[in-house]
C-alpha cells in the first residue's frame, strides 16, 4: 500500500488539476442530478468551471509553497465561481487556504485541520444553510478526517481514503435529509461533485492517473426510490425568476452589510469574499434592482443574469431523457396526499390532483400526457365525472391514450395492480379494464343538503354511505354508516378489505372498525391506510 507523508505546493496543484479532469468526466451526469435549490441542471458544469479557474490561478502562485498555491487557488475559485455550488466550493477552497496559511508542505494533520476550516467557511458564506447538500458533505468529510488523524494520522493516502469514504456515505444520505431529493430519487448534485473532486485527488495521490484516463467517476445512487416525478416538484414554487451573479471589486467592502441588504431581494443568496472582491449570487425576480444597488459599491465584473424558468424547462427535458424508458406511462387523478403516495408507490408516472368537486380540465390531463416519458398512456380517472374529460385527450394528442373507466379510487388501484410488466399495451388495457369488476367500493361522506333518495330520508350533514356509487345507507356517524353499508356486501367471498381514512378522520377510528370486521370475519385480511382524501371520511375497497 502506497503511503504519502507530506506533499508540496506543486503536488497540491497537480492534485487539484487531476481532480478537475476527473470531475469533467461526470459533470454532465451531475447536471442531471440537480434539483436543489432550483432544478436548472447545471451544478456539474458550474463546479467544473469553478475548478478550472481554481487550477489556472494556482499556476500563478508566487512560489511553490503549499500556502501560496492554496491562496492562489482560493483566489481563482472566488473569481471563477459559478452558481450556488460553485460559490460554496470557492468557500471550501478559501477555508482550505486559510488552514494552510504559512505552511511550506502539507502533512495529514495539516490537511485535516484545513478541511475543518473549509467546513466552517462554507457554512459562514451562506445566509441560511440547508442540510442534505454539499455543506453537509464537507462537514462530514472534515469530521471523519479529524477522527482519522486522531487515530493514526501520518499517512495522507489513508486520510484521503477516509475522506472519500465519508463523502460517499454522506452523499448517499442526502435524500434522507432533504425532501426534494427524496421526491426526485436522486442524491445532492453539489455533494456528488465534491465527492468526485476528493476521489480524483485520491487517485492522483495513489499514482493512478493513468488508469483514470480510462475510467469514469461513480455517481452515487439514492437508495430511496423516487416518490414523485421531477415535473411534480416545482408546482408550488414557481416562478423562479433570474439567477443573478457577479463579482464586485472595490475598497473596504462590507460583506455583512451587503448580505443584509440583499436578503430581502431574493432566494439562495450567497455573498462571499473580502474587502476588495466579493462574489454575489442571488435568485431574484428583479435583477435590475440588485445590480443598481451593487453598482454603487464598486465595479462589477463577470455579470451574469439567467432566466431560470427557461433553464428549468431545459432541465425537465433533460430529466425526461434520463428517466428510464418505460413502455407505458400511467397517469392517475387522485386527491389526498396519502392516496397520491399509494398510487405513486404502485408505479404511476404522474398524479393529477382532482376528484369529487374538483375535476381537472382536459388541458391538465393533456399536459401530463404530453410530459410523460412514453408514447403510450393509460389514464385512471378514478371518478365518474372525470371519465368524459379524460376521453377527450385522445383527440388532442398524437400519443396513444387509453382511459380505464375507473369510477372510484379502489377501482383505480385494482386496475393499477393488474398491470402486467411483460404484456403489451393492448393486453394491459384489457387486464386493467377487467380488474374493475373484481373490486367493490364503499364511500362514506356527509350530505351537503337534506334530500330523499328512494326510501332513504337524509338530513343535511348526516353521514351517508355509497356502495359502488349507489346511496344505500344513512346515519349519524360515519362508522355506523360504514358498518350498515358493509352488511349489503357478501363478505364471505371477499379476501382483502382496505380502509382509506380521510383527511378529517382519526386513524384510530378506522383501526377500531377494522378490528370489529375482523372479529366477525376472521378470514379477511384487513388493512388501514391513511388516504388524506377530502370529503370522504372513509373509502373502502373490498376484493
Amino acid at each position: 500500500m502506497k503511503q504519502v507523508g507530506e506533499i508540496s505546493g506543486q503536488d497540491l496543484r497537480e492534485m487539484f488539476a487531476a481532480a478537475t479532469n476527473w470531475l469533467e468526466k461526470s459533470s454532465a451526469d451531475i447536471d442531471a442530478l440537480n434539483v436543489f435549490p432550483v432544478p436548472d441542471g447545471d451544478t456539474g458544469t458550474n463546479m467544473l468551471l469553478t475548478m478550472r479557474s481554481t487550477v489556472e490561478e494556482a499556476f500563478r502562485a508566487p512560489d511553490h509553497s503549499a500556502s501560496a498555491v492554496a491562496k492562489a487557488m482560493a483566489k481563482g475559485a472566488l473569481m471563477g465561481a459559478r452558481g450556488n455550488s460553485g460559490v460554496i466550493l470557492s468557500q471550501i477552497l478559501r477555508g482550505l487556504a486559510h488552514g494552510l496559511e504559512g505552511k511550506e508542505k502539507i502533512n495529514a494533520a495539516d490537511l485535516a485541520e484545513a478541511l475543518e476550516e473549509s467546513s466552517a467557511q462554507a457554512y459562514r458564506g451562506i445566509s441560511n444553510p440547508t442540510e442534505g447538500t454539499i455543506l453537509t458533505v464537507i462537514k462530514d468529510v472534515a469530521h471523519a478526517a479529524r477522527e482519522k488523524v486522531a487515530e493514526n494520522g501520518s499517512d495522507l493516502v489513508a486520510l484521503l481514503e477516509t475522506a472519500v469514504a465519508a463523502a460517499n456515505e454522506s452523499v448517499a444520505n442526502t435524500p434522507k435529509l432533504l425532501k426534494v431529493l427524496r421526491e426526485a430519487g436522486v442524491v445532492d448534485a453539489g455533494g456528488q461533485g465534491l465527492f468526485t473532486i476528493l476521489e480524483g485527488a485520491l487517485h492522483y495521490l495513489t499514482g493512478e492517473e493513468e488508469q483514470m484516463r480510462f475510467r469514469k467517476p461513480k455517481i452515487i445512487i439514492s437508495d430511496l426510490p423516487a416518490t414523485k416525478l421531477p415535473a411534480m416538484i416545482a408546482d408550488d414554487e414557481i416562478p423562479y425568476g433570474y439567477c443573478t451573479e457577479f463579482l464586485l471589486k472595490g475598497e473596504d467592502i462590507d460583506t455583512d452589510k451587503i448580505r443584509k441588504k440583499m436578503e430581502k431581494k431574493g432566494e439562495s443568496l450567497i455573498v462571499v469574499g473580502d474587502e476588495s472582491a466579493v462574489r454575489i449570487h442571488i435568485h431574484t425576480l428583479d435583477p435590475g434592482e440588485v445590480l443598481s444597488f451593487a453598482s454603487g459599491l464598486g465595479t462589477m465584473h463577470q455579470v451574469s443574469v439567467r432566466n431560470m424558468d427557461e433553464q428549468h424547462q431545459g432541465f425537465l427535458e433533460m430529466q425526461k431523457e434520463r428517466a428510464p424508458a418505460i413502455d407505458t406511462a400511467i397517469i392517475a387523478v387522485v386527491s389526498g396526499d396519502g392516496l397520491a403516495d399509494v398510487f405513486t408507490s404502485l408505479g404511476v408516472s404522474a398524479i393529477i390532483p382532482g376528484g369529487q368537486t374538483m375535476n381537472p380540465s382536459t388541458k391538465d390531463l393533456l399536459q401530463a400526457s404530453e410530459a410523460a416519458a412514453s408514447d403510450k398512456i393509460i389514464i385512471l380517472p378514478n371518478n365518474k365525472n372525470i371519465i368524459p374529460t379524460a376521453g377527450q385527450v385522445q383527440e388532442l394528442t398524437k400519443k396513444t391514450i387509453h382511459v380505464i373507466p375507473a369510477e372510484t379510487i379502489p377501482q383505480g388501484i385494482a386496475a393499477l395492480l393488474a398491470f402486467d410488466y411483460e404484456a403489451n399495451f393492448d393486453t394491459n388495457t384489457q387486464l386493467m379494464d377487467k380488474a374493475l369488476e373484481n373490486v367493490r367500493t364503499i364511500e362514506i361522506t356527509r350530505a351537503v343538503r337534506a334530500t330523499q333518495i328512494g326510501r332513504l330520508k337524509i338530513q343535511k350533514k348526516q353521514a351517508i354511505g355509497f356502495l359502488d356509487g349507489d346511496l344505500v345507507a344513512v346515519g349519524d356517524s360515519p362508522a355506523e354508516v360504514l358498518n350498515r353499508t358493509l352488511r349489503k356486501v357478501n363478505l364471505n367471498k371477499a379476501e382483502v378489505i382496505t380502509i382509506y381514512c380521510g383527511a378529517d378522520t382519526q386513524r384510530t377510528e378506522a383501526d377500531e372498525l377494522a378490528r370489529e370486521i375482523k372479529e366477525n370475519h376472521s378470514h379477511l385480511q384487513m388493512e388501514v391506510v391513511r388516504g388524506g382524501q377530502p370529503h370522504y371520511n372513509f373509502i373502502v375497497s373490498i376484493e
Binding site: V342, Y421, E422, E495, E527
Partner: protein
Amino acid sequence: MVVRIVTDSLSDITPELAKELGIDTVPVYVRFGKEVYKDRIEISTDEFYRRLVHDVAFPTTTQPSPGDFLEVYKRLAKEANEILVVTLSSKLSGTYQSALQAKGLMEGEKCRIEVIDSQKVVMGLGLIVTSAVRAAKAGANLDQLVDLVRKAIPRSHSAMFFDTLKYLAKGGRIGKAQGLLGSLLAVKPILTVKDGEISPLTRVRSRTAGLDYLYKFVAGFPKIEELAVEHATTPDEAEQFAKRLGALYPTDRIIRATVSPVIGTYVGPHVLSVSVLEAAA
C-alpha cells in the same frame, strides 16, 4: 462415448431425483453467521425455514468453489469422455464462473467439458436439465446436448408468487423487481426470470388472485412439454394447485418440487412457483 450431466442445487433437483436421473448436483452453500451448510445435503428445507423465520442472523449464500466442481469433474472423468454442465443464471450467482474455472483446471485431461449458463433458476433450470438427461439416455453426444440445451433455454418459463419481497431485497438479488418495493399497500409480487435476472410480472392483493395468475400463466402456453410446481412451506396448497392444473396438463406428470434452502434465502416462506418447458415448435 459416455456423457455425464452436472448441474447445481439451485435447479431444485433433489439429491434423490439426481440419483434416479444419474446426474450430479453441486451444492451451493447457505450460511447462518459462522455456520456453513451444503444446500439440501447438510441442511434440510424444513430446518432451514425454521431458522429463517426464527434466527436473528439473516442467512447468506455462497457459490460453490471451483474446487467443488473440479472434484466432481475428476470423479466423472474416470468413467466419462464428456461432461455437460448447466448452471443457474450467471447474473444471480457466481456458480457459472466457478464451473468455468474448474473446466480450465481440467485442461490436458482427455475428458471434454462444456459449461452453459442457463440464465434460469429453480425448475426453470431443472426442466432444461431433465430434458437434457432424456436426450442423453436416447444417445445424444455432448455437441448435440449443448445444442439442445441452448434451444431449450428460450422455451423455459417460470412464474414465482412471493408472499413478500423482504427476503429478495435483503439478499440483494431483487434485479428489475426493484420497482415493486416500497408499495404502501400490502401487495404480493409475482416475478419471473428474464434475461437471467429477476423481473416483475405483476402484483396481487390475495393468495387466491396469485394462484389465479399462475394458472393463467400456465394456460398461456398452448403446447407444454413439461410442467413443474414448487413450494417452500405449503405442500397441501401446492398439491391442490397441481390438481387444478390437471385441466391443462396431466396431473400425474407434473413434477412436484420444493425450493432449496439457498433459494429460500431469497424467496422466503410461502412461495409458490410454476415452471413450464414449452414443446419445441
